[in-house]
C-alpha cells in the first residue's frame, strides 16, 4: 500500500495509511499529550488532551483517533491548544481528589507529569468534592474513584487483552465511576482473573496493589502493548507456516 506524507508541526512525515496522527507524530519526535490513548487497545478519544488542529477542519480533532491523510497539515502545539490542555487538566484536578503527596503513584503518575509539563500549577477552581468510596474488597488490589480520570484503559485492557470483561463504567456525568461485574465489589467479581492488567495500565494511582505506600508504585505500563504485539507476531508466524 502506498504511504502518505503529511506535515506535523512543520515536520515532513511519511506514514502508512491507517496510522493515527498521534502515531505518526511520535516518529518525528512530537509527543502529543494524552491520557486515554494506549497502544494495544482500541481508541476511545475521551480525554481530549491530544486535540490537534488540522488545516481545513473547523474544530480541533483528537490526534489519537484521526487517521493520517495525504497532504494533511497538522499543528499540535498552538497557543489555543496549549491553553485548552491546561484548562482540561485543571478540570481533572477540580473534579477528583488528586493529592499527590499521599498517593501511591506520586512520581510515577501520568497526570502529575502532564500537569507539570503543560504548566498547571494550581486548579483554578475547587468545587465541593463528591464523596466516592474506595473499593478495597479485592485481596490484592484496590480502586480509588477519586483518583480515577476515567480514561478506561483498564476497561479496555480487561476486555480486549485479558478477555475478562470485568470492568465497566456506571453512573452519569460526575457520578461516572468504574464497576466490576456490573456493580459488585471487585473482590466478589467472578469474572476477574486477578491478572493485574488494569492496575498496570492505570495512568494515576486510582488502581493500585495493596501494600504499596506513597510513591512506591512500580508500573509496567507497556505490559499490554507488549502482549498484543507479541500476539500479533505469533499469529503472523502461524500464517506463514
Amino acid at each position: 500500500m502506498p504511504g502518505v506524507s503529511l506535515r506535523i508541526d512543520d515536520n515532513e512525515v511519511d506514514a502508512s495509511p491507517g496510522e493515527s496522527v498521534m502515531q505518526a507524530a511520535v516518529r518525528v519526535g512530537v509527543k502529543v499529550p494524552g491520557l486515554c490513548q494506549m497502544d494495544g487497545v482500541s481508541v476511545v478519544g475521551a480525554c481530549r488532551l491530544c486535540m490537534v488542529e488540522v488545516a481545513g477542519t473547523p474544530r480541533p480533532r483528537p490526534a489519537c483517533a484521526t487517521p493520517v491523510a495525504e497532504a494533511m497539515d497538522v499543528h499540535t502545539d498552538t497557543e489555543q491548544l496549549r491553553e485548552h490542555r491546561k484548562v482540561l487538566l485543571e478540570m481533572l484536578f477540580a473534579e477528583g481528589q488528586h493529592v499527590c503527596a499521599v498517593c501511591v503513584a506520586n512520581g510515577a503518575c501520568e497526570l502529575q507529569t502532564l500537569a507539570a509539563q503543560v504548566g498547571v500549577d494550581h486548579a483554578n477552581f475547587t468545587p465541593p468534592p463528591s464523596r466516592l468510596t474506595m473499593d478495597l474488597s479485592h485481596p490484592r488490589f484496590g480502586y480509588d474513584p477519586s483518583r480515577c480520570v476515567l480514561c478506561t484503559r483498564c476497561v479496555r485492557a480487561c476486555a480486549e487483552v485479558e478477555g475478562a470483561f470485568t470492568w465497566g463504567v456506571a453512573g452519569r456525568g460526575r457520578e461516572a465511576h468504574l464497576v466490576a461485574d456490573l456493580g459488585r465489589p471487585w473482590g466478589e467479581a467472578e469474572s476477574c482473573t486477578s491478572c493485574g492488567k488494569c492496575v498496570s495500565v492505570c495512568p494515576t494511582g486510582a488502581m493500585f496493589e495493596k501494600g504499596t505506600s506513597v510513591g512506591q508504585r512500580r508500573v509496567k505500563r507497556a505490559l499490554v502493548s507488549t502482549l498484543t504485539s507479541r500476539r500479533e507476531r505469533e499469529s503472523a508466524r502461524e500464517v506463514l507456516k
Binding site: F93, Q97, H98, V99, C100, A101, V102, C103, N106, G107, C109, Q112, T113, A115, A116, Q117, G119, D121, H122, A123, N124, T126, P128, P129, S130, R131, L132, S146, G215
Partner: protein, 182 residues
C-alpha cells in the same frame, strides 16, 4: 539599598514547607543580607506587619484564624505566594472536605475516638481554638494569589529559584520538573 521586607505564614499545613525553606542551608545567610524577615513562625513577631514586599503562605485555609490572617496578609503584602501544595490546592489539609460536616470530625477526634484525651469538644466561643470552616479552601479561593509554588514540600531548590525571582521583581518561571505537585 534597602532590604526587602519578607514574611512567611503558616496556615493549615504541617510546617513541612517551612522545614524545606530551612533546607536552603548556607544560602539563608546570603538571603539574610538581602531581606528582613518581618513575620514568620520562626521569628517571634506577634502581629502581621504593614508594608510587606513578599509573603510566602504555607497551608490551606481551614479555620477562622487562617481566614482572618490570610486577608490581613493580602492587605499588607505587595506579593503573595501560595507556598506548597496545601496553599496551592488544599492537598492533605483538604482531605476532610469529602467527609462533610466538620462538627462530626471534631467530635470523632476529641470526644468519640479511643485516643481521646479529655472527651470534651473544643469551644470556639472561648477564643482559644478557632472554629473550622465548613470546607478547607486553597489560598487563591480566598484572596488573589500572585504566584504558585507547588510541591509537598517544594524542594529548597524550587524555593530558591522562586524567591530569587520574586526579589528581582519578576514572576518565578519554574521548569516543568520543578513545578510538579507532590
Amino acid at each position: 539599598m534597602s532590604k526587602a521586607r519578607v514574611a512567611t505564614v503558616w496556615l493549615a499545613g504541617c510546617s513541612g514547607c517551612h522545614m524545606s525553606f530551612l533546607d536552603l542551608d548556607e544560602w539563608l545567610i546570603e538571603l539574610s543580607q538581602l531581606v528582613d524577615l518581618v513575620y514568620s513562625p520562626i521569628a517571634d513577631v506577634k502581629a502581621f506587619p504593614e508594608n510587606v514586599d513578599v509573603t510566602l503562605v504555607e497551608g490551606a485555609v481551614a479555620n477562622t484564624d487562617n481566614l482572618e490572617l490570610l486577608k490581613e496578609v493580602r492587605e499588607r503584602s505587595k506579593v503573595v505566594v501560595a507556598f506548597g501544595d496545601c496553599a496551592v490546592h488544599g492537598n492533605t489539609s483538604a482531605m476532610r472536605n469529602p467527609l462533610g460536616d466538620p462538627g462530626e470530625l471534631v467530635a470523632e477526634a476529641y470526644r468519640d475516638a479511643v485516643t481521646k484525651l479529655h472527651g470534651e469538644l473544643p469551644n470556639p466561643e472561648n477564643g482559644v481554638v478557632p472554629a473550622l470552616l465548613p470546607r478547607v479552601l486553597p489560598a487563591h479561593e480566598v484572596v488573589h494569589i500572585d504566584a504558585f509554588l507547588p510541591g509537598c514540600p517544594p524542594s529548597a531548590e524550587r524555593i530558591r529559584i522562586a524567591v530569587e525571582a520574586l526579589l528581582a521583581g519578576e514572576s518565578p518561571e519554574l521548569a516543568p520538573e520543578l513545578r510538579r505537585f507532590g
